[in-house]
Symmetry: C2
Subunit: 347 residues, 2 copies
């Protein structure tokens, strides 16, 4: 079934050029003129030659692969992030390989090792929960350019691109307070992540500056997923002094909160104010359209890719920590002003 | 910044074994006893040795990578499919690299070529729109095991794993007819895909066997996304003789149809019956929970991975075409019986 392998010599012979010229074309060298390059490339396509990248990598210690490692592929935030990375690396002539760790540090170790073994030019990593600087040390020591996205890791010694989660959460809660809400919940997310900690801190500070009580009972963690949002709002609605609004850990949780409200015959936006975090594609088309703190996952992917390419081209990894600004996008789901309280009939 | 490279000789010296023993451990050979293997592995970790997979691939022509190439990563169906593949390849000691083509044949050519160059052991591909057998010929000729998923390609000469889209669509439309619906729309999807064609055929046959008219106007294509669903239902509701129910191309479209209905103050499940296709995770927790034809994306990913591993282990690619069965999962979104017609106030 396997065809006999076409060699560089076959190409040179068919194209009527030297073997070195074919090699230069394969390496993308600028020493070969356009006409010759076109002729060689046409012959390569015609004969079906496959460039042996493994051998080339050994010779050049350089591939045209960018690796991206994400912690939860089922969250559309990360799919959108990867699509953003792809648009940039593609125009730079790279191919992106993605791997999913499903929040498992051991799997992260395996996929990172595998990507290193395959000679990726650089890595973009959204680390699994609980990843520590020591887990990344072998990778960092190897000198391969690395950009951490979404979750930063203290003292990792590599570049990171995160969002101003603290400021975003403050803006969202201030908006809810301006609309008259006094009992505002923080729903969803895992307590042990830096992202959770920063959003929570923003939530608390906005409450404190308005002289409001940040009651422990109003902070309800859950998986950062749609199903987690359903669970969190169910728990919130069982409190004796119910909230009238919520800032959710992310958009997935916010959609679940909307689902859970509807299951109780409460209309999100009319009977209860909901704000998400991320601004995934679906936030705009959902009904009600989701008010959310825009992190712009595709844009974040693009910026991460640009940062990584800069380091790859510079040939060394100068660590930079970039904190991207965020903005509150007011749509319909936060429309519940306080006078339209949770309907008594359903209390 | 780059540490001096640790060699096999360094490992052998530190662990007090021969160089050949270290090599055998690196190759996962069963000739080395447990105690020695553990000692060598501990030394490898301690010294931070990185196995040079490029060199190993050249020697062994074998990697431990499975490539998966999908056509639209922003559709959660494909993220779930990839997660299913991952669970199986992981237990078989492989790592999965994913690439997204965004429905572009040229990008598909690039990522497939790149994966071949990196010596993947096998490929799972959900082909981009318009892919023809000729596009896959170089890959097929190379003898690398390939499994097509979701979309089959006639005469491609490789294994495929698809779903019984025809039977699924028939079951869904029969269910709507049993509930009394006579004006049933088919919403969303691109006309030029085999999946669309099969689902459409099932839709038409179910209408014909019930003596109903399959009016052209009731078939409204759109992007197979949530936003596409919003557009399609808007168009359907402008018809003079409106439908009362719809089979949607996939779950993403169905969610968009629900959004579009709500934007018109129609309650999906109460005022209009909606059935999706795929059964993504979110179908169960949505409100109303989505009635859908279950394709079970994670299960499909698992079966595709098993099929591919079987071919990798057999050392040759015997083409098999597997058509997985599907089943209608009745939840709430199809609850609108015909007597609860579209409310007059909103006509």
């Amino acid at each position: 079934m396997v065809k006999e392998r076409v060699t560089v010599v076959d190409i040179a012979h068919a194209a009527g050029v030297s073997k070195s010229t074919v090699s230069l074309v394969l390496q993308g060298s600028s020493l070969v003129n356009e006409v010759t390059r076109a002729k060689v490339n046409a012959t390569i396509r015609e004969l079906g030659y496959v460039y042996n990248r493994s051998a080339a990598n050994l010779r050049q210690s350089k591939s045209k692969i960018i690796g991206i490692v994400v912690n939860d592929l089922t969250n559309s935030f990360f799919a959108e992030l990867a699509v953003g990375v792809d648009t940039v690396v593609q125009s730079a002539g790279f191919v992106q390989f993605l791997a999913n760790t499903n929040e498992k540090i051991e799997r992260q170790r395996e996929v990172v090792a595998s990507m290193r073994e395959h000679g990726v030019s650089g890595l973009i990593i959204s680390p699994a929960r609980g990843t520590e600087a020591a887990d990344l040390a072998p990778l960092v020591d190897s000198g391969i350019p690395v950009v951490l996205v979404v979750r930063d890791i203290a003292d990792a010694g590599v570049s990171s691109l995160t969002s101003d989660n603290h400021a975003g959460a403050m803006a969202a809660v201030r908006h809810l307070i301006e609309r008259g809400h006094r009992r505002i919940a923080f729903l969803g997310g895992f307590h042990d992540t830096a992202v959770f900690e920063a959003r929570m801190r923003g939530y608390r500070e906005a409450l404190l500056e308005a002289g409001l009580d940040a009651a422990e009972a109003l902070v309800i963690g859950s998986a950062p997923s749609r199903a987690g949002g359903v669970t969190a709002i169910e728990q919130a609605m069982m409190l004796s002094d119910r909230p009238t609004a919520a800032l959710c850990f992310n958009d997935a949780v916010a959609f679940g909160v909307c689902d859970g409200l509807r299951a109780r015959r409460l209309e999100p936006g009319a009977d209860f104010a909901v704000i998400g975090f991320d601004d995934v594609i679906e936030a705009k088309t959902a009904v009600p359209a989701l008010t959310t703190v825009s992190v712009d996952p595709q844009g974040m992917g693009q910026r991460a890719a640009e940062l990584l390419l800069k380091q790859i081209n510079a040939g060394k990894a100068e660590a930079e920590a970039i904190i991207g600004s965020v903005r509150l996008v007011v749509r319909q789901s936060c429309g519940a002003a306080i006078e339209r309280r949770t309907r008594e009939a359903l209390s």
